[in-house]
Symmetry: C2
Subunit: 343 residues, 2 copies
């Protein structure tokens, strides 16, 4: 608790920044949850857990979704929760099998809203070829919730050659990314109408198991897969660099950002590297497999814009951006978030 | 949606009663969720899903917990969420292996509260011999949540002879219960201090996997196991009677209720048969195995007060209470709940 207390000395209370996915979230997880729950499986802190207590090929994950608004260009909370869980399983090298859906509904929510979200969950599950096998429904009093929170959990089966972990990155490996970053968060911010900008940017929310399946023939050459959601590309790369005790250098000119998202970021003073994505995957692989993996990813509709964005180095440690003018800028983990939470 | 609309015609909005575990919850699940998610696994509507798409011995479940207050005599939301998930797996005949914990925290929650709950989760998981293998943390703005909501999901391994399902009850079988009903809900209501009564009744919240393991040598003689939580004994028996298309007659004089809980129920006008439990299990088994199962259950600390409370009949269908004076009273499924939600 020491570090958390420093960050919020007077109150010693949870703040929104503790849910941002940044440094404060990491400290909260480490200093409260992981401290009490400690065990071998949890200590890896990957996106999903491999249940080696029973059978080394069952993978298990959970995620809570509290997005506002519930509907936004390119998606909604229903598509989001299925994609999030499917992707967390997929980046572990698992084939997603089954999902559960637990809804916490605020009294007064319209049935039409609930039905629209439910349909979206069903459609996305169909696209991802996973079954919804169970759920739970709780209703809380008006003012004790925010329309609809959904927690999805998922079970998958690990593919035999996939041994991916955030702690496996090795110097000399290359970093691939399957396309434009930041679109999801910009789409959600736009849908809130708080900043008075109108955009037709759509969330990238997508189930990535099909795309990732394309890379599995090269699984033995892949060390890390992660989806850069809350906290964005920079935060996820920081998690990997820290867990693997390496440095990661990415090249600004290689990072794909749509022109529209770039414009919004300039107006609002946001850095797309820290914006949430819901359909992106970072793949860290051996240099000699790069072109095959890139080709495999590019062949899938969710990987058309795949690029090699950087390399893993022994030093300097941490994450660095090689800027357009050739300088190196450190990409630290933010304390909290750039803007009100959106995912 | 037709039936739901009838029940709430003017508003067509979700009400607290939709979260009660009673008839409206069942209609919500059936007419919204199950309609869109339909598949073979989900349609069984048991407490946990057996993943026969992959491997017939993996069992998977989820539950959201929104209890108010967070702490009450005999337990707290932490103990509750682990017990709920462990018990949902156990009543399917599975050995619980791993649990995930997803927290939705309202901004401003004290770290001390979060740490106390986290410790309770860890202690209960240790008692139940399950690992916490993953989690997620989201923080919502003040006034958009209610201190702390927790969704736990669990994975277990099915024991080979256990083929329990709410739809398996057969006429001639007997109904066993492991002890006093209603204590959990009365403990939570008391902790709210809304009704001005003081009681030392403690919640029965307990992980039942140890108790249920004692019955597994007789698994081939057991047709149904269910934990009567939200909605109480009467609601769970109604679910079983309906899914199995049988009648269930229980005897009032056999139903164990503590004197204190009986007193509180009389004062507040509550029926203990509809009050939530968090450490109770209904076992429906063949008559010729009754005494062995009863003996096995009584040997465990959470089964000391085990009784045979009734029998399964072909007709009348539904659930019936044989009262102390010999009459038969129908125990219907309530529309909503007797009192504000507590579990």
């Amino acid at each position: 608790m020491a570090k958390i207390s420093n960050a919020n000395k007077q109150a010693n209370k949870i703040t929104l920044a503790h849910g941002s996915g940044g440094r404060l979230t990491h400290e909260l997880v480490k200093n409260v949850f992981a401290k009490h729950f400690k065990n071998k499986v949890l200590s890896r802190l990957d996106d999903a857990a491999i249940l080696d207590t029973y059978n080394k090929n069952i993978v298990f994950t959970t995620d809570a979704f509290v997005v506002n608004p519930l509907f936004f260009p390119g998606g909604d909370i229903g598509r989001l929760c299925v994609c999030g869980t499917v992707n967390d399983l997929s980046v572990m090298g698992a084939t997603p099998i089954a999902i559960t859906v637990a809804a916490i509904i605020e009294e007064g929510l319209g049935f039409d809203v609930l039905e629209r979200v439910t349909k979206s969950i069903a459609l996305t599950a169909k696209e991802a070829n996973v079954l919804i096998v169970g759920g739970d429904t709780k209703v809380v009093e008006r003012g004790k919730g925010d329309k609809l929170f959904i927690t999805t959990s998922g079970v998958g089966v690990l593919n035999i050659n996939a041994k991916f972990s955030g702690s496996n990155a090795k110097p000399g490996e290359c970093v691939l990314l399957n396309g434009n970053i930041g679109d999801h968060e910009v789409a959600v911010i736009g849908a809130r109408n708080e900043y008075g900008f109108i955009t037709n940017i759509k969330s990238d929310a997508a189930p990535l198991n099909g795309l990732i399946a394309k890379t599995l023939p090269f699984a033995s050459k892949i060390s890390v897969m992660r989806d850069p959601t809350r906290g964005g590309l920079a935060t996820t790369l920081n998690e990997i660099a820290s867990a693997s005790n390496v440095g990661i250098i990415i090249e600004e000119k290689q990072i794909p950002v749509s022109k529209q998202t770039k414009n919004v970021c300039e107006i609002l003073g946001l850095d797309p590297l820290y914006l949430a994505n819901e359909g992106k995957v970072i793949v860290i692989a051996q240099e000699n497999a790069k072109s095959k993996i890139e080709k495999a990813m590019t062949s899938h509709k969710y990987g058309r814009n795949t690029r090699t964005i950087g390399t893993v180095v022994n030093s300097p440690k941490g994450v660095w951006l090689k800027t357009l003018n050739g300088g190196l800028r450190p990409l630290v983990m933010l304390e909290g978030e750039q803007l009100p939470r959106i995912c």
